[in-house]
């Protein structure tokens, strides 16, 4: 039972990061109908920026802020300089371009920073509190939950309560109609990329310290889990992304805890296959709403 509680908390804190990363994927999918396979590489680039800033200034928080701002700008740059010119007649085009971007970003990072693993600091201790003799959460885990929770709340408010959010949703669902109603559709798309890349950078900032360390490929494995989380939840659904993230986190934690870490990636794959067979649109897809 102790082990189960430990694994549950561990799974939830991992899952929170997957959720944030899946949210980034969902944001771009909703805005542009592209699965941004470059999200991981872009996030790593932002973490490197944070690393450099923290090294220069000695402040974790300046680095943290720099990562988010850099993510935002990188999202804008990628949309305006690359994705805008992708022919969307075939969904594969965007995927291929995104994969190309992964190679470019990882190559550039390798040239600038080298390929060795660098240890990254965390703003809070990662020693877990003991409750009833069981290690449950560390201060850092609490920080992760709070940060991801804040993003979820902020995005929910943005999309459901503000006119910018309404414009973004309209532009994503019905670009021509939105333009006829005076919505600057191109601008909304850029904004979507910017937000998504910033959220992705946040996820990178949260997860990299808990893994082996900073490296140009640091997000590759995480991307697989986060992509699964997004698909499990339904690429169109922010709530689905969060739920999917937590489900994948728990699954990974239980499987590595009870069956061994080597089986975990297979469990993620199995989950993906089962969901795609049973509910191809994801658990939270509203099939009716997607007719248009």
């Amino acid at each position: 039972m102790d082990r189960f509680i430990y694994l549950t908390f561990d799974g939830l804190s991992r899952g929170a990061v997957y959720a944030a990363f899946a949210l980034a994927l969902v944001l771009i999918w909703r805005a542009a109908r592209i699965v941004n396979f470059a999200q991981g590489a872009m996030a790593v680039a932002a973490v490197y920026v944070a690393y450099s800033v923290t090294e220069k200034t000695g402040s974790y928080w300046l680095g943290f802020a720099a990562a988010l701002v850099f993510g935002l700008l990188l999202g804008i740059a990628v949309e305006k300089a690359v994705m805008r010119f992708v022919d969307h007649s075939s969904p594969l085009n965007g995927v291929v371009v995104a994969l190309g971007l992964v190679l470019v970003v990882q190559g550039v990072l390798g040239i600038v920073y080298g390929n060795e693993f660098r240890p990254v600091e965390t703003p809070f201790a990662r020693d877990a509190f003991q409750i009833g003799g069981i290690a449950v959460l560390s201060r850092y885990d609490v920080f992760v939950f709070a940060a991801v929770g804040a993003v979820v709340v902020a995005l929910t408010v943005l999309f459901t309560r503000t006119s910018v959010g309404l414009r973004m949703r309209a532009a994503a669902f019905a670009p021509d109609v939105s333009r006829l109603l005076g919505v600057p559709v191109g601008g909304m798309l850029t904004l979507g990329w910017a937000l998504a890349a910033a959220v992705g950078s946040l996820a990178g900032m949260l997860v990299v310290p808990t893994e082996l360390g900073l490296n140009p490929n640091a997000m590759d494995v995480l991307f697989v889990s986060a992509f699964t989380a997004a698909v499990v939840g339904g690429l169109d659904s922010p709530i689905g992304a969060v739920t999917g993230g937590l489900v994948v986190g728990l699954l990974l934690s239980y499987v590595s805890g009870y069956l061994g870490a080597t089986v975990a990636p297979m469990a993620v794959l199995a989950l993906l296959v089962v969901v795609l067979l049973g509910r191809p649109g994801g658990l939270f897809s509203s099939s009716k709403a997607r007719l248009a």
Binding site: L166, A174, V177, R179, L181, G182, V183, K288, A289
Partner: protein, 256 residues
Amino acid sequence: MSAPETGRLDRLDEPYRKKKPLLEVEGLTAGYGAAPVLHDVCLTVRPGEIVAVLGANGAGKTTLLRTLSGLVRADGGRIAFDGEDLRKVRVEQMVRLGIAHVPEGRGVVTELTVDENLRLGGLWRRDRADATRALSEVYDLFPALAQRRASAGHQLSGGERQMLALGRALIGRPRLLLLDEPSLGLAPRITAQILALLRDLRERTGLAVLLVEQNVRSALAIADEGIVLSLGRVVTRNSAADLRDDADLRHAYLGF
């Protein structure tokens, strides 16, 4: 040039004749890619005037509206709206000039609620107070929509969608309404209501309407003037009354 029969218009003594044209289209050529759909189209809409665009499927009626609002690029010709060259205006700006386009299939954003769809129609407006006022006017005009405020667009019936699309356009307080097949898929009673509403709006607000309609009888019943398109060319341009009475024309192009 396929000369439109403009001669007979001069004999009409409607008050709109005296007004300066709101929309003037001359020699418009447009289409998708290499093959033009519209050839040398000319038409005029005056303030408060309802002009019906008639013709068979594939005649270019929808393309005409899409070209006017900038969704399709014009290849040649002149489009002037209140003296402004519309070919230089971006789609996003049309609504600010006072042009509302209710596209084919109505363009309700089915993922958004009724209220969100309507608010979307007023987001561009600087005058927030009037946008709010216009919203409540639309709810008064269409009580059915007020009851379904929180319903998603995809839950609405065809008639409700048409009311929503029309209401959303009215929130911008347009001077010219480009309306594409409002009767499509609607019961005759609802079509009649919507067309009656157009006439009422024209009387009250001086709204000008360019109305594309398959249902020729109903369209000519409310229109002041009609143009008939065939294979992308204007074959006839005349008063609605004369078009109704022109048996040859009806047989040749309008099928009744």
